[in-house]
């Protein structure tokens, strides 16, 4: 995989930059630890050899397209990342003709950290149903047949607990939350100019670092992504205090699937479930 | 007629069928059975009779015991399901019972109940087709030996073949066309008449003979006055009622009632070159042979 994928990406990047199709290629390069990958922004055809692709390439680079509005840009996306492209297209945050999508059939990524990489596959990849990108202009690797739907064992496990236990669990998480907002910064679906959490009037979330303020933040962050989260799980990966955000996201993913039969980012013309409706929705409310 | 087309479309390329003759075709309606088998063989349709079929329970069961009326057809359906072939059913009454059963088995609870009754796990994944639909398939080429030119046929479908539409899902309930089109392919003339799907009275055959006479006579006389040379049927019950009592009708209603009543498969048989003997045309009480001779068809 590695070498071959890397080469294909480099060649395509070179071609695109030389032809002037795009003015920047967003991909991955080996980080300064020499072990793990980090985002790379290539503007010069001569530098395409910086680009690599290996199983530490976890960043969802689609996020960076948001800063490239109006500039033709190529971006390297894995299966999960590609759903973010559709999300942003449907929410009119990027323009299709401005983005050249280099899709990579995802080999699954591993757990890694500064100067260390394990062979442990990341959780998100166990759940993943989208190794082949849903949208791309150029595909690296052969499309694979996807696994059957994952079960939500982790969610079920949490639901097996009593309400008190669940409340206690999240309270404990909230007490550790630093409100550094790394989860937000990594999320391609979080692109508001002013996030509600920093709003002073109305002050939805108080400045003080108190559990209920933190819970407020974590609940609404998750809910704002309800029916929009494309399960790249970057938010959880970047959390410095390891709050299991995937639990919230996946709980919502599961509900959205069962209530509205919807998966975010599968195409660029679907409407998120919370801004549409069916008159005959059966949701166990007043029925 | 949309339903016809869609049904025809479904049967494309189906050439092998499980076969459920039903009781009548082994007795009074032997000529239907025989002619159907001959014709199918001729046009390259293979019929595999189910080894262990039982009575569909028409009238006897479905008017007395609901569960039994479902269990009997279910037993037959189960075999067909195991064979994995579509099931061809000549008798309209059997067809109706099988379809009704499938319809009721759509309900989960009923499915479980009946499954327990016959001791087998049922499903509703069986295609059941009336013989008429099987043979009317326009994708089947008919190696015609003798065109039935000049023969005016009143196609009679009866009540059960096309009703109720939501259950049988075959042809149009008020003005069906399948048999008419088929007859035209044999170069016979299917006359347009209004009682194609009217009742012949079979339901009360034993209880109220007078009603049978009245209804059947209404049918035959209209067919006669509409210029038909014969009536073509696809149901042993209809055949019995229309064919057997014509003398009684003449007696009861005055003017002479005489109109041959043939199974559509027999008319096909003629066109495909079989002899009246092979087709048991001599078995009818209202003798069709003179008419056929007059028409130079035999």
């Amino acid at each position: 995989m590695g070498a071959d994928f890397t080469q294909q990406i480099r060649d395509k990047a070179k071609e695109l930059l030389e032809k002037g199709t795009v003015e920047c290629v967003i991909g991955y390069e080996t980080g300064s630890d020499g072990v793990s990958a980090r985002p790379a922004f290539i503007h010069d055809p001569a530098e395409v050899d910086r680009l690599v692709f290996d199983n530490t390439c976890s960043h969802n680079l689609v996020k960076y397209l948001l800063n490239k509005k109006g500039k033709p840009t190529a971006v390297v996306v894995k299966g999960c990342d590609s759903r973010a492209v559709n999300l942003l297209l449907s929410e009119k945050q990027i323009e299709r003709n401005q983005a050249f999508i280099i899709g990579v059939v995802c080999p699954s990524v591993v757990e890694w950290g500064w100067n260390k990489r394990s062979e442990q596959i990341q959780k998100r990849c166990d759940w993943c149903r989208q190794h082949t990108p849903v949208v791309y202009d150029f595909l690296v690797g052969e499309p694979v047949t996807e696994e059957p739907p994952p079960d939500f064992a982790d969610v079920a496990e949490m639901e097996a607990k009593t309400t008190e236990e669940r409340a206690a669990f999240w309270r404990e998480q909230a007490e550790r939350c630093l409100r550094c907002y790394a989860c937000r910064q990594a999320c391609p679906g979080c692109y508001c100019i002013d996030c509600f959490v920093e709003e002073l009037d109305p002050e939805w979330v108080g400045i003080r670092i108190a559990p209920q303020e933190n819970l407020m933040w974590n609940t609404i962050r998750a809910f704002h992504l309800g029916g929009r989260c494309i399960s790249c799980n970057e938010c959880e990966r970047v959390c410095p205090v390891n709050i299991p955000l995937s639990l919230l996201n996946r709980k919502l993913e599961q509900e959205v699937l069962s209530l509205f039969d919807y998966r975010a980012g599968m195409s660029d013309d679907t409407i998120a479930p919370l801004i549409t409706f069916r008159k005959d929705d059966k949701l166990g409310i007043g029925e | 007629m949309a339903p016809v087309e869609s049904n025809v479309a479904k049967s494309i390329a189906e050439r092998v069928y499980s076969y459920y003759p039903g009781c009548s075709l082994h007795a009074t309606a032997a000529e239907y059975d025989v002619s159907a088998r001959l014709v199918c063989q001729k046009v390259g349709i293979e019929l595999r009779e189910l080894e262990d079929w039982v009575c569909c329970g028409a009238s006897a069961a479905h008017s007395t015991d609901h569960l039994l009326s479902l269990a009997l057809p279910a037993h037959t359906l189960k075999q067909a399901e195991e064979k994995g072939l579509p099931l061809a059913v000549p008798c309209a009454m059997c067809f109706s019972r099988l379809k009704f059963t499938l319809h009721e088995l759509e309900n989960k609870d009923t499915l479980d109940l009946v499954s327990r009754a016959i001791g087998k796990e049922l499903s509703t994944a069986v295609t059941v087709k009336p013989m008429l639909q099987v043979l009317a398939d326009e994708n089947i080429s008919l190696p015609i030996a003798k065109l039935l030119i000049g023969l005016k046929v009143a196609c009679y479908y009866g009540c059960l073949l096309v009703r109720p539409p939501e259950v049988v899902g075959f042809d149009d309930a008020e003005n069906p066309q399948t048999m008419d089109r088929l007859m035209e392919r044999l170069a016979a003339e299917a006359i347009d008449w209004g009682l194609k799907t009217a009742c012949c009275g079979a339901g009360v055959a034993f209880a109220r003979f007078d009603i049978v006479l009245k209804l059947s006579h209404r049918l035959i006389s209209l067919a006669q006055r509409s210029g038909a040379d014969c009536i073509a049927v696809a149901c042993p019950m209809c055949h019995a009622n229309l064919d057997m009592y014509q003398k009684d009708m003449t007696a009861k209603f005055g003017q002479k009632t005489e109109l041959p009543v043939l199974y559509f498969t027999q008319l096909m048989g003629l066109a495909l070159g079989f002899s009246p003997k092979e087709l048991l045309l001599d078995k009818h009480l209202t003798d069709p042979l003179p008419m056929l001779r007059k028409k130079k068809l035999i």
Binding site: E91, Q93, I193, P202, I275 | E174, G194, R225
Partner: protein, 665 residues
């Protein structure tokens, strides 16, 4: 720093009897920003209102909380009160101490505690109120009427006579609609054409009415008072300025095709007017069927044999009015109000296979019978049955064909069938005394002035046999139609040898009623009948301001009801058009351009198409609210994650501060 005044009402003992008002007053005085608190016996009384006005002046209050009854009761009253004291009427908030407190709670302690909370919430909210000013928008004093049937005609005439310009759009070549197809009208039996055609002429001659026949409404933009409508004018191929309507062309035209107006019973030429008294009395060329047009088509490809060239109409036209250069064109017009009167069509009887409609030529619809009876019809008023043109003696009528029948998805009653069938029975007898009528019915519904009397007359005088029951089957037997049915009152089966069977087909909305509704953004029910704003109290209004509905497009009704309905819609339109400007409710949502990220979730959820796209100076595409369309529901506010949209009167700040008075710090 605002100075809030709180006024707590005893409402006699209604509130004071349960809630300890003085205690609430004391509590109110200690609430933040409250500069003054007082109590009244009856705040809504003149005395009470005066005390508020005085307090506002004396205490220099800039915001007011009135704790009394439900705002749904007195909000407007008190808005006027504070306004007369010089405050902006929107700087008022009410606390519902009566309906929501004293009337539902008996324990004084609890009720008082709750009352204090309710006041605190109101104070917190009013502190965040801002002065709001209703907007004035201009309006175009013109009305569009869609549909040239009797309803549309009435509406157009009334609006025009009130002095406003009207454009009447009709998709057919002539106005007149269904009523023009009728022979006589029940229960008076006066001739339909005789009472309709004068109105049609009035329309064509009215100085305020522009008639656009052979035209359709394609697109509607804008909002109440300021609609912009695209109208498709189909090519008539005839220059109406030159044409005198002499009729040479339609007499000379060699092609004859089934006439839509005569429902296939008669034939018409290809250059044609639908019927003799058509308005305008000038023809159109039905391009699809015109020989010469067919020739021109052929000319492009030259495939197949060369068709004849014809052009006879051009030859015989004395004024050279035939103009083949005409093409369909779209015109855009501005209107202040729109009246929709798109009418009905009759149910397709071939759905009932057992009646054989469509198979047997002598099974016809009631509307077809009207054409057979009409002196201007294909048989010039002689009732001759289609198959062989003989006079029918035995005529069977079947009621509720496509009405009151779930089986065909038409559970509603079409309202007019019972009466027009009675009419048919009476008139057939007049046409031919030997006629015997049989009517299969479910119920005879003769609710209306002189209706019951008339229905009786049909049964008693004409000897029509009314049979309560359905028909099970009809079949041809020689020249007769055998009708098998049930007489459920006698409990027996009946068999009738009929010469003619007439199906009383029900009403359903015209084709594309749903499309038009979508174009206008008004709602319609499962049968595509348009939905009024309120079935009882706003019968001709719709949820969209400035758009009115009338006639059978709303639901089955007879001619007098349609005329009344059309008049009602006209009156509403006139009320609107007689204003010089429109006042818009200021409780609308608004966008903060700095926060909007342009995801347009708001646009997705807005039921009123009030969200528009706008480009900011720095080139971002963001949303903005058309305040004339906004109805203040606030759906957009909740859909907006960054909180860029807010709703005046119910801002995020206000709702949050209300909550915070109850919980937390």
């Amino acid at each position: 720093m605002s100075r809030i005044g709180v006024f707590i009402c005893h409402c006699g003992t209604n509130i004071g009897g349960v809630v300890n008002v003085p205690q609430v007053v004391e509590a109110a005085k200690r609430m933040p920003l409250v500069a003054y608190a007082d109590e009244n016996k009856y705040t809504c009384s003149e005395v009470g209102q005066a005390s508020i006005r005085d307090a506002i002046k004396e205490q220099r209050l800039d915001r007011v909380v009135i704790a009394s009854c439900s705002p749904r009761m007195h909000e407007n009253t008190f808005r006027r009160t504070v306004a007369t004291a010089g405050l902006n009427p929107y700087l008022l908030e009410m606390a519902n101490l009566r309906e929501h407190c004293s009337w539902v709670h008996s324990d004084s302690k609890d009720a008082t505690a709750k009352a204090i909370d309710l006041v605190r919430m109101a104070v917190a909210k009013v502190a965040r109120h801002e002065s709001l000013f209703p907007k004035q928008v201009g309006l175009t004093k013109r009305a569009l009427v869609i549909g040239g049937g009797i309803t549309g005609i009435q509406a157009a005439l009334d609006i025009a006579s009130a002095g406003h310009e009207v454009v009447l759009v009709e998709k057919e070549p002539s106005i007149g609609g269904r009523m023009a197809q009728l022979d006589k009208t029940f229960p008076t039996l006066d001739c339909s054409a005789c009472i309709l055609t004068p109105k049609m002429v009035d329309v064509s001659q009215h100085p305020n009415i522009t008639l656009l026949t052979y035209s359709e409404v394609k697109e509607v933009r804008g909002f109440v008072g300021n609609f912009e409508v695209d109208i498709l004018k189909k090519a008539k191929m005839v220059d109406y300025v030159k044409c005198t309507g002499c009729g040479n062309c339609w007499q000379a035209c060699p092609e004859r095709i089934p006439s839509e107006f005569d429902l296939g019973l008669g034939r018409r030429s290809v250059i044609y007017i639908p019927f003799a008294q058509a308005v305008p009395n000038k023809p159109v060329i039905d391009i699809a069927n015109c020989r010469y047009e067919r020739y021109l088509k052929w000319k492009e490809t030259e495939e197949g044999p060369e068709p004849p060239q014809c052009r006879i109409c051009e030859g015989v036209c004395p004024t050279e009015a035939i103009d083949r250069s005409q093409r369909d064109e779209i015109v855009t017009e501005k209107f202040g109000a729109i009246v929709v009167a798109t009418g009905f069509k009759t149910f397709d009887y071939s759905v009932y296979g057992e009646y054989g409609g469509g198979r047997y030529p002598d099974v016809i619809s009631s509307l077809q019978l009207e054409r057979l009876m009409s002196a201007a019809g294909p048989t010039e008023g002689e009732v001759l049955r289609p198959s062989d043109g003989v006079h029918p003696k035995n005529v069977v009528f079947i009621q509720c064909v496509g009405s009151r029948d779930d089986k065909v998805g038409r559970p509603y009653c079409s309202k007019v069938c019972c009466m027009y069938t009675a009419k048919h029975a009476v008139m057939l007898k007049e046409h031919d005394p030997e006629v015997q009528c049989y009517v299969f019915y479910i119920d005879v519904r003769a609710g209306g002035k002189d209706f019951e009397e008339f229905a009786r007359r049909a049964q008693d005088e004409t000897g029509a046999v009314y049979l309560r029951g359905r028909v099970s089957q009809i079949y041809q037997e020689g020249k007769k139609l055998k009708v098998l049915g049930e007489d459920s009152l006698m409990g027996r089966l009946v068999e009738i040898d009929a010469d003619l069977v007439v199906l009383a087909t029900g009403m359903e909305p015209s084709d594309n009623a749903d499309v038009i509704a979508q174009t206008l953004n008004i709602s319609y029910n499962t049968y595509n009948f348009l939905i009024e704003a309120h079935p009882k109290l706003r019968p001709v209004e719709t949820q969209t301001d400035g758009i009115f509905v009338a006639g059978t497009c709303v639901g089955p009704r007879d001619i007098p009801d349609c005329v009344a309905h059309g008049g009602a819609a006209a009156a509403k339109a006139v009320v609107l058009l007689s204003q010089d400007s429109l006042t818009t409710d200021p409780l609308t949502s608004f966008v903060d351009p700095m926060k909007c990220v342009g995801c347009f979730a708001c646009k997705e959820v807005c039921p009123f198409n009030a969200i528009e796209e706008q480009i900011t100076r720095d080139g971002r595409t963001i949303s903005s609210v058309n305040e004339s369309l906004c109805k203040g529901c606030g759906l957009c506010v909740v859909a907006c994650r960054p909180g860029a949209i807010n709703l005046r009167g119910f801002t995020n700040q206000q709702l949050l501060s209300e909550v915070l008075t109850l919980v937390g710090r």
